[in-house]
Symmetry: C2
Subunit: 336 residues, 2 copies
């Protein structure tokens, strides 16, 4: 069947961003072009406490449901996945590469998971090893390393030091130097925002609002004030402003967003981006907010306002030799 479509737009790779809370499956063609995309709902697969046998069956079934038809149509197509699927709670533990790590992930770094129709290759996570003296804290990511690799591919090549920021539930700040990820940090700012608005007094103080960029800017200013009173005090300050009639409860969410992003930026910018060019990658609105937070410190940022996981998976597949660099040929069917 592949042969029938080779002269138009042959599929080259099945690529999955298989996270805990969201999943994406792409059928990629030459040069990583997206031929098809799906958003399978794997639900809470990663949080089940099943025994290994039944967990394997569950992942196999989920994988088959997500892209079994793609495999049936092109049984030799390589498949690759990043994210939670490779965690200890996933299909198979895919390990971590320890920083500094080369941006080109090798074939030996992937974990091959056999399934009834072939093999799925899992991308390893990355970790920062903590220093014994505590001077360097440890950190971990799984899935974001692939987005970082993809985002770098979307940029004009640069040799200078770069920091990639992926804003989100667990924001990542990754320092890239000499084509290596030399270190990174995670801030659970997005999770804190979600928690205080969904379950806390700030959520009960807010009313359903419209977007308020001015309130966001006020929050940024508060969260950047010197010296800082600390995030827990500045967050309560949002409630005080509402009780004092100085902040519309409908604008509280944007104000709180500003306070939390400012706190993250003020702390991580000097550690992870001093003297670096900065690239923001992810949701367009979040990137815009972080860019505003960086401007307060006189820093400009390039924005790649899209998720770069598909590009990253394509890049890893090339570097690991799953497909030809020019993607003009399809590799032999793999055997384990």
């Amino acid at each position: 069947m592949i042969q029938n479509t080779l002269d138009t737009s042959p599929p080259r790779l099945i690529a999955l961003d298989w996270g805990t809370s969201s999943q994406r499956a792409w059928l990629l063609g030459d040069g990583g072009r997206i031929l098809d995309v799906r958003r399978p709902d794997f639900g809470l697969l990663g949080t089940t406490g099943d025994d290994p046998e039944s967990r394997t069956r569950a992942y196999e079934a989920a994988f088959d449901e997500a892209c079994g038809d793609w495999i049936a149509a092109a049984p030799d197509l390589p498949a690759i996945a990043c994210g939670m699927v490779g965690s200890a709670q996933g299909w198979r533990e895919a390990g971590y590469l320890t920083t500094p790590t080369d941006l080109a992930i090798g074939a030996g770094d992937l974990t091959a998971v056999p399934h009834p129709r072939g093999v799925l290759h899992l991308v390893p996570g990355m970790r920062v090893a903590p220093a014994a003296d505590g001077s360097v804290p440890g950190d971990v990511m799984r899935g974001e390393e692939t987005q970082i690799i993809g985002a770098l591919g979307l940029l004009p090549p640069t040799d200078g030091p770069l920091t990639i920021v992926l804003p989100g539930t667990h924001s990542k700040w990754a320092r890239v130097e000499d084509h290596k990820i030399v270190s990174f940090a995670t801030a659970m700012s997005g999770e804190l925002y979600g928690l205080v608005m969904a379950h806390g007094i700030l959520g009960r103080t807010a009313t359903t609002g419209v977007r308020d960029d001015a309130a966001f800017g006020r929050g940024l200013t508060t969260g950047t004030s010197v010296p800082s009173r600390g995030l827990p005090a500045e967050l309560f300050g949002a409630r005080a402003l509402v009780l004092d009639g100085l902040l519309d409860p409908a604008s509280l969410p944007d104000y709180v967003s500003g306070v939390i992003i400012a706190d993250e930026v003020r702390h991580l910018l000097p550690h992870y981006a001093a003297g670096h060019r900065i690239l923001l990658c992810g949701n367009a609105d979040l990137c815009r907010r972080y860019a505003a937070g960086l401007r307060v410190h006189g820093m400009a940022a390039d924005i790649v306002a899209e998720e770069a996981a598909a590009q990253g998976l394509w890049r890893v597949a090339i570097d690991a030799g799953l497909l030809d660099p020019d993607a003009s040929t399809i590799p032999e069917k793999e055997t384990l």
Copy 2:
């Protein structure tokens, strides 16, 4: 009936700490001695969206249930309450005193709420007015002002500057100078701890634990590290430690407690307690944790390991003239 017990232990005051999530009712005798205490469950009275009429009826019924028998036994007994009952969502809005505020609250500052059996006096909250230029952030408290007044009464008299810290869901740091509360700050540290452990990834990372003072100490050290990576990054660091096998998931709650308390202390200590004697007042375990957090900065603290609301209500009642300073006589029955 009062007369029958005057020579032994006459009740002098009905005092209520009527907060949103917990309530206490005391029958106080000479010198503020506690003759009886109850923990009525007023449930979500403060969060109902009832119309004013039915809200009034609901508060009257709750008050009657809590201490109607005390009033029946001594109809002339004055009654006073602090906390949410005096908020905009409470029985009657009791307003705020703006700092700097004298520790002696005057009769004119109380709000008298008539009810079928007499009058309940509501203690006002306190607020810090924000400076127009943003240099001083605003803040509010309602209920804690009474605890502060009570805690000061439990200390040997001092004329020097003092900072009272009430650790809790919304920790308060109040600067007291020249017998005035000159300013204060609130940190929602306890709320953040509760949210991340109840609803966040840290709660899902932790296992049911035993108390681990060493893990708490490690968290304090991390949260005090210079320069700071910020609370959202240090919180995620707890998960990284567990994934790296460097922290027992059963010890994660104490580690996180240390990180959050250290963050609060490092930020609020220089603003609100520089050069001040420090008094911690509240839950014994929390006071112990905050004292450890202060020791990291070379600060000692006195601890009043009890809730001081009853003492505070007694003090306010005296200062406002609701009863004689020596509490040997009972005032005339009030009329509105």
